[in-house]
Symmetry: C2
Subunit: 347 residues, 2 copies
């Protein structure tokens, strides 16, 4: 092995055992404990000794092994686990960002994974994180069974569910006002004269989809326009299923004149299906999205803040880590209707 200038190339050279505190100690001519003291900024080390140790650390490229440290100290591993549906979805990447932000302030790293709406995968990820002894767990539930987490929670790992509640476990939960949101959407559309309002939602076994459907229903009733089964199409949806649904809705004897979209993906599918269509139904989408205001017509949405959701959940988690022992809380974040045009089209 030749000397390596900082600017020199480095590539192969595997199997070079990493320096440990022992190596540093030997090189600096001190005991391993003294190295530990220096590394951890503990007091009681003579400045000249510390200097020698630091030089050795530098020379050997020593970096302390956190696995060993965590094992020995037993307390915090400095990590929190985040299980969500899909980091690729802008909504969840916003959540991730917020979580990361707060974790950083509290000196924690975030380990995350996407469940893709698969309960098995969610469980696998969560338990894997527990094996890594994360300090806490943030979960966007994919399924309805979470009793697998009971042993972990008993062992002291706080868990906060976000966006959807857990199935069979009572724990901190942060939700958004799904029902209120779709009630408002329907009310808004009805106020603009619509009486045939359709709802396109995600798979009904998804909590948020179901809640939003309930809100839609309630909104219809409150608005006095009644609830009509044939105006509802629950998912799972993809671009083509949405397109077919729209055709069906518009070719009815009494066509739908307005649509409420159950989430950001469905909204986009609808927009795509309607592109170029002259006679467009009014539209209100659940979830805000970038550029909604720049489309024509601009898209009216039920907005809620991904980063507020992430922040609320993470704050709750850290409160638990700080020793908060109060009974589990359920936080419901408000949503607000942002009128932009697409929902203000007259019937």
């Amino acid at each position: 092995m030749t000397t390596l200038s900082p600017s020199g190339p480095v590539a192969g050279q595997r199997k070079v055992r990493r320096a440990t505190m022992n190596d540093v100690a030997r090189l600096a001519g001190v005991s391993i404990k003294t190295v530990s003291r220096v590394v951890n900024d503990e007091p009681g080390v003579h400045p000249s000794t510390a200097e020698r140790v630091l030089a050795a650390i530098d020379q050997l490229g020593f970096r302390r092994n956190l696995s060993a440290r965590n094992l020995r100290r037993g307390s915090s591993t400095g990590t929190i686990g985040l299980v969500l549906e899909d980091v690729g979805n802008p909504f969840y990447s916003g959540v991730t960002r917020a979580v990361e932000e707060i974790a950083r302030l509290r000196g924690r790293q975030v380990i995350s994974g996407s469940s893709d709406e698969d309960p098995g995968r969610e469980r696998e990820l969560a338990l894997e994180f527990c094996s890594r002894r994360v300090d806490g767990l943030l979960i966007v539930p994919a399924g309805l069974q979470h009793s697998y987490l009971v042993p972990e929670m008993r062992a002291g790992t706080p868990v906060v569910f976000l966006d959807r509640p857990a199935g069979d476990v009572v724990a901190d939960t942060v939700l958004v006002d799904n029902i209120g949101g779709t009630v408002e959407a329907v009310t808004h559309l009805a106020a603009h004269g619509h009486r045939r309002i359709a709802f396109l939602g995600d798979a009904p076994d998804i909590f948020t989809a179901n809640e939003r459907l309930r809100g839609y229903r309630e909104g219809c009733v409150r608005a006095g326009i009644g609830y009509h089964e044939e105006l509802v199409a629950m998912g799972p949806h993809d671009e083509s299923s949405v397109a077919t649904t729209l055709q069906r809705l518009q070719s009815m004897r009494e066509p739908a004149t307005a649509i409420v979209a159950g989430n950001n993906r469905i909204t986009v599918y609808i927009l795509r299906a309607l592109a170029g269509v002259a006679e467009r139904p009014a539209l209100v989408g659940f979830d805000d999205f970038e550029l909604a205001d720049l489309l024509s017509p601009p898209v009216t949405v039920i907005a809620h803040d991904a980063s507020a959701l992430g922040k609320a959940a993470t704050d709750l988690l850290f409160a638990r880590l700080d020793g908060d022992n109060s009974p589990p809380r359920r936080v419901v974040l408000p949503v607000r209707l942002v009128p932009r045009g697409s929902g203000e089209v007259h019937a």
Copy 2:
């Protein structure tokens, strides 16, 4: 401590020491090594013994401590570290998703963090990940100095840089064809008759921003329209700086009739600034984005695939982990111009 039904609430109850293999061994009446064998599916355990052990594991809610395991085994920790600019940016969340996907296939967890374009933060994150003994590191460089990674690379941690090259270290790198992209953008605009083409780019110390500027310049020269300093505005940009720049560009003696936007954020700022303006310049944006095709006019872009970038980098990383010792590679992914309308406006 009372028994706890699966559906029962769980919240406080901290400080319940986690069960270890020792506890399991005692309960099952076997040695700790036998527990280890069962947990690791090692052969040579009598079925009936294994059953007893599994029952004990279940009863105690045992979950093996990966810190201890990793320490003892010394080899892989089953994690890879990902340092990027901002998970909140859809481009990077696409990268993250792709990385996660492949890591999953190879049985790895992803630990990620956002540097926010701060070299210090990048370094902090990368070194923290090294302390956790990640199996490999994927980095979107924020700065130009990466010699801090030399000891880590020597110690056998493979590093792949993506989207931008490292400053002073030779390592695997995956880039996109930035120069080719802006050359093509300018060529495209010039072909549509534009002779006053502006370029709005990110801060020039960012590699991609600088490359794209070079491509813009080269494109101008090739198109025979010359390079004009006053048509270039490098960042950092925000919504208002972009708006002011646009005003300046349009109030010149010979106004710009077309714009090349240096990245997805700038493109959006431009769109926002142009909203409602009657006389719009032609526009080509670097980076594709969702809904670009649904705007009016639809936005012509230089598209490149975030997930292809993430995949290429992760594949490279795993090749190293599989023992590939060849010299560092530099992969340049192609970009392609997607004409949609905004770039085809006549001068």
